[in-house]
């Protein structure tokens, strides 16, 4: 009750005293948790290194500049591999994400009790685990290389694409579906005429968006041995060849910006 009687005068407060206390208490706990976390981090840190950090950073900077431009001739193949990992990974992911999404959406799933929870579990497992971890796992199983990277990207993307897609499916206009069923269309025809046209723009947007993200992710997959330009980065870091590192970082930056530009253009054209 925000209007309080104080003596004879009425005063307005946004919250009652109890609510205020509760809020302050909440904030207090929040701050306490943060301080505790900070202490944990601070204990695990060698502060001597941190105080020394500006000098080290300056040192790395002087070593890394100028980038070794000549090295770019050796980067062609890794860039091509990176592009392939991202693109093929996205394509595989989309093919698998579509059925998963239809099974996960409440209005299209064949069975709410059995199939939907399985589909949701697939989605959350794939989403929770970073592509680098998937890559680690796949390298342990099928050996290092571009193939492991592609599959890792694909597995990671399934959850992302299915989640966005099944949300789009659940938001479709139901009367359009009803109208198609009323013509006597079969289950699959209802799917093709009533549902697919409605989610097609969302689908294309999701695919391009994920491709953009995958370009970023595939640039670092090489750090664990899954192919692409990350392999060169990792090798250069291991021998402390800073001029090569800075060149690779510039190339990655350019790739990321180009992919973001392409994806923005394509999404603009679709919508």
């Amino acid at each position: 009750m925000p209007v309080l009687e104080k003596g004879s005068a009425q005063t307005w407060r946004r919250r009652t005293t109890g609510e205020n206390l509760f809020r302050w208490f909440g904030w207090l706990i929040g701050v306490a948790i943060f301080v505790a976390c900070w202490q944990q981090i601070s204990e695990a840190t060698t502060w001597f290194f941190v105080w020394d950090a500006p000098r080290i950073a300056g040192d790395i900077w002087t070593r890394a500049t100028p980038p070794r431009w000549g090295y770019i001739t050796q980067l062609g193949r890794p860039i091509w591999d990176t592009l392939n990992i991202a693109t093929l990974g996205t394509l595989i992911a989309i093919c698998l994400a579509v059925p998963v999404a239809f099974m996960a959406a409440r209005n299209t799933t064949p069975s709410v009790l059995f199939i939907r929870p399985v589909a949701l579990l697939v989605i959350v497992s794939s989403r929770s685990i970073n592509s680098l971890i998937w890559a680690l796992l796949l390298i342990a199983i099928i050996g290092p290389g571009v193939f492991a990277g592609t599959i890792a990207i694909a597995i990671r993307s399934i959850g992302f694409c299915s989640k966005l897609l099944y949300e789009a499916i659940e938001e479709i206009d139901h009367t359009q579906v009803e109208a198609i069923s009323a013509t006597g269309a079969s289950r699959w025809q209802v799917m093709a005429y009533g549902i697919v046209p409605q989610i097609l723009p969302a689908f294309a947007g999701i695919a391009v968006f994920r491709w953009d993200i995958n370009i970023r992710e595939s640039t670092v997959l090489g750090l664990v041995g899954a192919g692409g330009i990350g392999l060169q980065l990792s090798a250069s870091l291991n021998v402390l060849a800073w001029p090569q590192v800075s060149l690779i970082l510039l190339v990655i930056l350019a790739a990321v910006m180009i992919s973001e530009w392409v994806s923005a253009k394509v999404r603009g054209a679709i919508i």
Binding site: T45, I56, N84, L132, I133, A140, I141, I142
Partner: protein, 271 residues
């Protein structure tokens, strides 16, 4: 007139108008796409023998999920997980606090041009740099440990949150903000009364989402020595201890799921 038109059209076939109306461009796109696919497949080297051998291991890993080993390396898992959580909490708090002023600055409708350009610059840099690359650089500068991970996650949070916050502010209802301005409010009062109520629900939602992402990212930072559960996971894969790895993955999935559930509750409360 219209009847003559009808006579002309009867008996003629009908095809759906193509999506790309220029036939040269359309066929160019189709052919180009398939040419790319063929080229990409040709250059991926897959050692099928190795993959075949790996299938057994893959199966062993899947089996490991049925008997995950939480106890064998309990202390490693526990300390790694705690470190991940600590990094997530600290980095989310700091990242969110910093991204609010930057988000305000990056919204063209409330910030003057110079501030806008600086803030957009910060956002662009933060978004362009992949977390893991930032982590590598920060580890090189600050030494191994969770401090580097904390800084990485804070930095990434700023890029993500400020951008979305700024977009949200730019899309807000102008009339409400103008009404507050018309009452003679100062700039801060104006932000507090005219802007904040409009963007607050989404800010809370996005922050929750970012906490979720930060936790997932914190799981891989350990791969490059920036603290968290990633190091433990990497060791488990290296030693082929699939049961321990499965246990860690299950824990990560569980935490992500509960975070999502929690954020769902909080978001519905705020709106």
């Amino acid at each position: 007139m219209s009847h003559r038109e009808l006579e002309d059209m009867l008996g003629k076939g009908w095809r759906k108008p193509p999506f790309v109306s220029n036939p040269k461009l359309r066929w160019g796109l189709i052919v180009g796409f398939f040419a790319y696919l063929v080229a990409a497949f040709m250059t991926i080297e897959v050692d099928w023998g190795r993959v075949y051998v790996g299938l057994d291991r893959g199966w062993a890993f899947i089996l490991a999920f049925t008997s995950p080993d939480f106890t064998g390396r309990a202390s490693d898992i526990w300390s790694g997980l705690l470190e991940s959580i600590v990094m997530t909490v600290a980095a989310s708090v700091v990242g969110i606090l910093i991204s609010i002023p930057i988000g305000l600055g990056a919204a063209r409708n409330i910030a003057p041009l110079p501030i806008y350009l600086v803030c957009r610059g910060i956002v662009a840099i933060s978004r362009a740099l992949q977390e893991i690359i930032v982590a590598i650089l920060l580890v090189a500068i600050f030494g191994f440990g969770p401090l580097a991970g904390f800084l990485t996650l804070s930095f990434a949070t700023i890029g993500f949150l400020s951008k979305l916050l700024a977009e949200d502010i730019e899309a807000m209802d102008k009339v409400q903000a103008e009404a507050i301005k018309a009452s003679g409010a100062r700039w801060l009062q104006w932000i507090n009364y005219g802007v904040q109520p409009q963007v607050m629900p989404r800010l809370v939602g996005l922050s929750m989402y970012r906490i979720d992402i930060n936790f997932r990212e914190s799981a891989i930072l350990g791969l490059v020595g920036a603290g968290g559960i990633g190091a433990t996971l990497n060791t488990a894969f290296d030693r082929y201890e699939y049961d321990t790895a499965a246990a860690i993955l299950i824990l990560i999935i569980g935490i992500v799921m509960s975070l999502e559930y929690l954020s769902g509750i909080i978001r519905s409360k705020v709106q």
